[in-house]
Symmetry: D2
């Protein structure tokens, strides 16, 4: 029977590891603050003393860490994964990290004789608990196939996207479309209201048709209320647009809509909206401040 | 009991009138080719000899005609609605016509002593049959309120949008957003595929998330197959973008994303794609022809 | 010897008519306020009592009037050109009027048996006095050829552009390029200053190179001083961009740069800069207000 | 009397060094291929055996080298400038190199006790011979002031732009404006011709007005002839637009026109025009290929 490890039991990791344990899998867990392991152990998991120990004793070790620094430390630090992995055992990093961090971790794992897969997820606490995350996997394909039965417990969709780096590209593509949809949506809301239409009616009609989507429902309500509690910061959206356009540059791919959206998000930054939710781009478009 | 009239029994009109008859309403019908009235009469409708007769004997007369010419002829032509309407009786034009046609019909109806409402619909055959159209109503508000119980049988949503012309504005706003969403979507698909991602996987991931919407599902499949059977002609989308931008001009409303989309659709026209479905804008973006 | 008429002796017309008289041509002049004719009569011109009289007695009648209303009145009003022209005599309207006015005047002239040429000019008082205007001629080609020796005294360049309306198209093309150059210039100045460069140095370097042009010299100084005395109102530039883009629409000609410039000028209007000089678009770009 | 050195006697360097010698300055020259020194020596220059020797014996050493590799080798290679400079003597690199190369050279010079100035030039063979280059200087200000009398012999304008790196920023700003002007110009030419105007007449009218500039004169002729011999490669213009936009990103500076131009140049790359002159962007706009 395959032995699974899980490093990092924050809000997301704890929910994801729980789904593995509940499925009846044999799971070893580790967390920097050890007492966070207790609930998992109660459910039947085994607690390990270090990332090294997990990597040395499990066939596949999953990691879900807070940021690039934590993701790096767990692999390269003392008693880290690098010291334990080997003999083709697998390491699957599900944290959201930049391409450089991912590449550095991959190199460390492979030099130690392990296999590597990057598998950042889309979705927050609820989908993590429900096992309905979207898992974007890229890297070692044999490891992907071996990890699929575990992915199936944690997510509703877990495509294999190709070599390391392709998961990041997929995220850029999705976020670029999201940014373009948002500026189109805000321009429509602004134009409609200026021409005398009621904002709520515009939303209602929109949501009754073929363009209806959960994002517009949520962000539309924010815009009509004029409050932008941050879920995805505006400056991060602008950064992703910039990176997507830079990716297009490599392939001589014109991206006029994305470029226009990018400039509009930059204007929003110029107006001081960097840390608000990216739906606050509405204010830069509408011009009423 | 309110007496309803219905002029025009094409694919849409027949389905809509049927829903009124099925609801137990008293309905007089007329069609230019009289034998198309037969199925409705069989269901319980009364057949009238002319638009004039319908307008003279019904409290509210609905019309669903093929184009501006037909919509105009039925009102201003011999034995037309204008000759029969009066005493505050209502005329509700549900055809899709331009602002000038709508204004001309409104003038004729009001001069004859009737009340006027423009109420173009969003949705095709199936929603017409199911009574789930979206009805965009604008014009005489008292007539709107009187017509609501009939609208409820034909549509799932029938907001009152204000004075005559506002229904057309709403359509422009919705189509402008749709055009912007489409160029963003195509740019994403094109960029993703060029960077080595699989088109179907991009779609799958998209459809599993907060941006999922029926339009992208349908058009995405068309794009991946490279076939663009025309449902909404590309040149009509470009025309709507142009009109929406012209509307924005009145209010000094910048619409950068819509403008970028408009230019991209114009490039598609330049490439000879005017009569294909508007999703064919993908070809202009992707550059492979 | 060809007899010339000249209607309208404002700042521009007086200078232009003077150049004809100085050249030794036989010139009849008329002005709504008759005493403005005195200086011309002193130089050798003949004063006429009405536009009709001028048109009836001259081979070619030039007109330089303040606005479309005046241009129309002089032709269609009592004792107007229409009543005097005929037998193939020529009428050359050098006023700046819209396409509709120009077409209405052309129709009136042709119905009365005259020939028509539109010939709006580019240039202000000084070039008018120096005989160095740019004259954009369109309409009756035989009249153009007959008028050339007079044009040569008033302007330095007077191309024949084709049928009536083409002079207006030429103006749109030139102004569209001017609008695009201005936004590019302002973006450069703004970016340069934000990255720590000195505005005057940017201008100096610019003016020493292959991109140097009189417009940037003049407008650049305005921008650095932050004062925008109106020479060409911003809202007129935006209107011309809109009309140029609409012209492109006819030919399915994408105009991405013009469209981006148009949206930027609209943003300037949104910020209340409509009546300032069009160089004030800098403020909308720079974001410091 | 100040002693000057000059490294690199290619087409540009030879002309520049000649102007220093002709001015009566004491100049030591060096070239990788020594026999290229002969004409300078004939004029009165002193020939040195190595970059080290020049740097050790001259107060200010100028360098004009072919590319970043040559510029680096002359400083860091055997018998290089680094080994000879010191005691506050000056090194002025007039080659066009990237920011990284410039920074590396600066570090080497300063560590050896020298002062550094970057001073890339704008202009080609003829201005180099005529002493009318534009010299963009940035770095050590005391060295700039000391070098001014030599700059005056080589160029017509040699502003001091601030710390190292600002010369590169100035070039980006100028090229960004140039790129935006070019797309505006091409759109105007394309629109005008499609609406029936004559291309040469558009150019003539343009060149007679306030927008006239040498670049449009030269490139306009290329466009009308449909031939694009490469003077500034299209892909380099697109690269500069990309870098300028990236610079704007740092300051949250929206650059809508530059972004639109960038996408248009990318489309030109997509169409295979990368290596043609950047005026060939006309083909991507006009759509006739």
């Amino acid at each position: 029977m395959t032995k699974y490890g899980f490093l990092g039991l924050g809000i997301m990791g704890r929910a994801m590891a729980s789904n593995l344990v509940k499925a009846g899998f044999e799971v070893s867990v580790w967390n920097r603050t050890p007492n966070k392991c207790a609930p998992l152990v109660e459910m039947g998991a085994r607690q390990a003393g270090s990332p090294r120990e997990v990597a040395a004793t499990c066939d596949i070790t999953f990691a879900m860490l807070a940021d690039p620094a934590a993701a790096t430390a767990v692999v390269l630090g003392p008693d880290g994964v690098q010291a334990g992995i080997g003999d083709g055992r697998g390491y699957v990093d599900m944290s959201t990290v930049d391409a450089e961090t991912s590449a550095a971790i991959e190199t460390a794992i492979r030099q130690a004789g392990g296999r590597f897969l990057e598998a950042p997820v889309s979705g927050t606490k609820k989908p993590a608990e429900d096992g309905t995350l979207i898992i974007l996997a890229a890297g070692d394909q044999s490891l992907y196939e071996q990890a699929l039965s575990a992915f199936d417990k944690m997510g509703k969709l877990s495509p294999y996207l190709g070599e390391t780096g392709q998961a990041a590209h997929m995220k850029l593509v999705v976020n670029m479309i999201m940014g373009g949809m948002m500026t189109a949506f805000c321009e429509g809301l602004s134009l409609g209201q200026k021409s005398g239409l009621d904002g709520q009616q515009i939303l209602d009609i929109f949501m009754a048709g073929a363009l209806a989507n959960p994002m517009f429902a949520g962000k539309g309500a924010m815009i009509l209320q004029g409050k932008y509690p941050t879920s995805f910061p505006l400056q991060h959206m602008q950064k992703d647009l910039r990176l997507a356009i830079a990716l297009g540059d490599k392939f001589a791919q014109p991206l006029s809509s994305a470029a226009a959206a990018n400039e509009t998000f930059k204007r929003a930054r110029q107006l001081g909206l960097s840390d608000e939710d990216f739906a606050a781009v509405f204010k830069a478009i509408d011009g009423k401040r």
